[in-house]
Symmetry: C2
Subunit: 346 residues, 2 copies
């Protein structure tokens, strides 16, 4: 077992100084062709690679990006990571992932772990608990220490930093308009409680679409699910909540759900009640996961372009990292949503 070799060892073996080896390997013209070749051959033979940690310490930058997301078993976040990874790697950066599991404490701890030199900057989406508690001191602190943050999807006005979001309002407004223009008269929405910013915005889009069509909202048609942890149990109660929605409104002929799962379960309930999709009732969901694509009928959704969000976030962060001199100017990039029409709408 030949351990990783270092400059020092090469130097000793070849009976030259460490700095000679270092220069020779970097093809410095200071070094004679002779020794250069000798050193390079030896290094190649022993498969020398400079130690990243030492480089990080010396350069005071790690060339790695820290990503904190609430949950990884989730198509949207997986896609975002994929996008981040893609551009990060292309530009010579590593990606290190931390999960908050929607918990404030884990979010804080994970950030602390990474902020102490392990990474150059953060890309993150805020956990639900943090959103609920509205305690953002950990973000402010890291930023004030000179470590840039890019937030995506679940962002918050209180924090000044680069952001990548989608136009939730417009996306959902489009979707609901689609249902209305398709002839739906009683469109329900299945959404989250308002502290989840995206849920709130999507609800607002729903309301605006109704308004455009001169329809007045009916609170009976608005189901705000208390979206705690999505456990087995929760799914069952979710299903019964939706059943209740249908019981209260026998005339529902369109449903807009703020995520994929709500839509799928909604379709399930509708089917159980003997409704035909999309003839009797139409559905539109949010997010571009696998569930939508492979459901029966396949679900029309508002695509968030997760991968693109990740790519953009990584670009923004790397830009900041590599031009620290630049004026402090934060931007918010809005990624366009796209209505992907499938078979749950006419």
């Amino acid at each position: 077992m030949k351990k990783k070799i270092t400059l020092k060892q090469i130097a000793r073996e070849l009976d030259v100084s460490i700095s000679t080896v270092s220069k020779a390997l970097r093809n410095s013209i200071e070094i004679s062709e002779d020794t250069r070749e000798k050193v390079q051959a030896f290094a190649k033979l022993y498969n020398y690679r400079p130690n990243n940690i030492a480089l990080s310490l010396k350069n005071r930058k790690t060339k790695t990006i820290g990503v904190i997301i609430p949950e990884i078993v989730h198509h949207f976040f997986s896609k975002v990571i994929r996008g981040i990874e893609q551009v990060a790697n292309k530009r010579g950066y590593n990606v290190i992932v931390g999960l908050s599991n929607e918990s404030f404490d884990k979010e804080v701890i994970n950030m602390q772990m990474l902020a102490n030199g392990s990474i150059d900057g953060f890309i993150l989406s805020i956990s639900k608990e943090t959103l609920l508690q509205q305690d953002y001191h950990h973000f402010k602190e890291t930023i004030s220490q000179g470590m840039p943050i890019v937030m995506f999807d679940r962002v918050v006005n209180e924090i000044e930093c680069d952001k990548v979001i989608i136009d939730d309002l417009k996306g959902s407004k489009n979707a609901v308009s689609k249902l209305l223009s398709n002839g739906c008269k009683h469109v329900a929405i299945i959404t989250t409680k308002d502290y989840v910013s995206v849920g709130k915005l999507r609800t607002q889009g729903y309301l605006e679409a109704l308004e455009d069509y001169k329809m007045s909202p009916n609170s009976n048609l608005i189901l705000k699910v208390d979206d705690e942890l999505v456990s087995e149990d929760h799914l069952i109660s979710l299903e019964s909540e939706i059943e209740q929605l249908f019981l209260n409104n026998k005339k529902i002929d369109g449903v807009f759900a703020v995520n994929e799962l709500y839509a799928i379960i909604g379709m399930k309930v509708a089917r159980k009640r003997g409704l035909r999709i999309p003839d009797d009732i139409q559905f539109i969901g949010f997010t571009d996961g696998v569930l939508s694509k492979h459901a029966t009928p396949s679900l029309t959704t508002v695509s968030q372009h997760g991968q693109e969000m990740g790519e953009k976030a990584a670009e923004l962060l790397i830009e900041k990292l590599e031009h620290e001199d630049q004026e402090e100017q934060y931007q918010t990039v809005v990624i366009e949503t796209e209505l992907i029409e499938r078979n749950s709408t006419k």
Copy 2:
């Protein structure tokens, strides 16, 4: 903007030596209570945290684990990462993720990037291309350099290291037996080409189950999909391949698919042909993703317990890392599969 503070700065401010500060912060009894308190107060005020990179360099260990997976937009791998993250964090380790995208080159490059000091050990699942080319030198090299590897799911006999797998053969044999005992007489299998080790094993389990039931295999019932990248196009061809399967075998009354997607698409084709599930035909898939749970009808599957695999892999790796003195003894842990019965079987 107060930059991150270092020992040196604290020392200068307080007019003591660096080592005094260092010791004071670690509560060394060598230091007088007086200065200890003074230093600690100051450190707290400035929110001092030791620099991870410096610690890594000094200790020659980074307390971070490198994970290389073929694909992240995939429930199984997401779950594994989640498991890894969970135990890693609990034991003070970070997790850094690299994606191979099923490509040999990206796998090699990603490993090289991380192996140069960034991490203490690897957890990985081999990319399809690597499996196909059977070129494992990069694994052998990192191991011979003293960096431990734990492989999961897609493993290979040629490499000596800890492994976490499921009993693919037994799992699929169970599944097929279930179909047979449920009365299916013509059970088809939708599987991958043999170079994907798990595909091969699952096919073998299928054959053994048939044998147990004294049925002879019919090559017409075995569809080996050429599972390249799963693109939109590929899905379409996959669907038509499955249609062909049904055309060739009008009597199929049971299908075992080696993954979730194949099963879902199989169900779709069957439904199109007017078959009722599970009355006319029964389905079982492999993997524990969301598709299965929320399909209509919900799909009976062989669960791989991805999170558990991740947890176990992380435990094995950390064990190795923290007891390097131990004898070189590699183990292969087999995680039990579980048949989760839903509505696609009787």
